[in-house]
């Protein structure tokens, strides 16, 4: 899972049932519209920002 750039300060989030990138962005950034930051940081995993799967471990920049 770890890629170049990941380190002890990289924050991770495991996708739970019912979550969207917007909800996750809201939780960490306070603003759901910033979901693209998470999308861009996980491009190797997320092909479509509207389609994320339960259990995926996402990098939260």
């Amino acid at each position: 899972m770890a890629e170049t750039g990941d380190n002890e300060f990289t924050q991770w989030h495991t996708v739970a049932k019912g979550e969207t990138l917007g909800k996750i962005a809201g939780r960490y950034y306070g603003d759901p519209s910033l979901y693209k930051k998470i999308f861009e940081a996980n491009r190797e995993l997320i092909k479509d920002p509207n389609l994320i799967q339960i259990g995926w471990k996402l990098r939260i920049p």
């Binding site: 380190n7 002890e8 300060f9 924050q11 809201g26 939780r27 960490y28 950034y29 603003d31 920049p61």
Partner: protein, 191 residues
Amino acid sequence: MTKTWKMMAAAVPFVFAVACTDAAKAPAEAAMTAAGAAVDSLKGDATRFAPSAVKAVEASYATAKDLIAKQDYKGALAIAGDIPAKAKEALAQAAAAKDALVKAWADAGGSIPKMLEAAKSRLDILAQAKKLPAGMDKAALAKAQGGLASLQSGWTAASEQYKAGDWSGAIAKAKDLKAQGMDLLKSIGLQ
């Protein structure tokens, strides 16, 4: 005849003492040469990383030189003979101390750039947020941004201090910065 014997008897201790002194002179001088070379080998890292051990060796060498000057060759030999081994111990002590400092710098300072990068990334994103996450307001964000700037300049100073040779000072500063950095990360929800 009796007078001659008396004179000879009186001279015996003197001759014996001279003979003993001379016997110890050459080994003492050889030992001093070796001791001098051992003391010279302590210049550089040893003086920097094991100053007490180096001072002890230098003090022994100075004492041995004094004894040579007083023609106490046996005494000088006894002290000078131990100096190469003591110098070797000082060199080993310095090497260990140097390794420990290099490791301490790597432990304390190695992760700081990554920590600052993570904090900057998050703060840059939070600066774009129309609404901040629970537990954070604009004042807290501004404080965190100021904290990051302070840590960045502190890290630059610590790195320069290390490059300038003040390893202990730089390590102490890096440890302090790391602790402050961890607090910053917590304040922005990164830890």
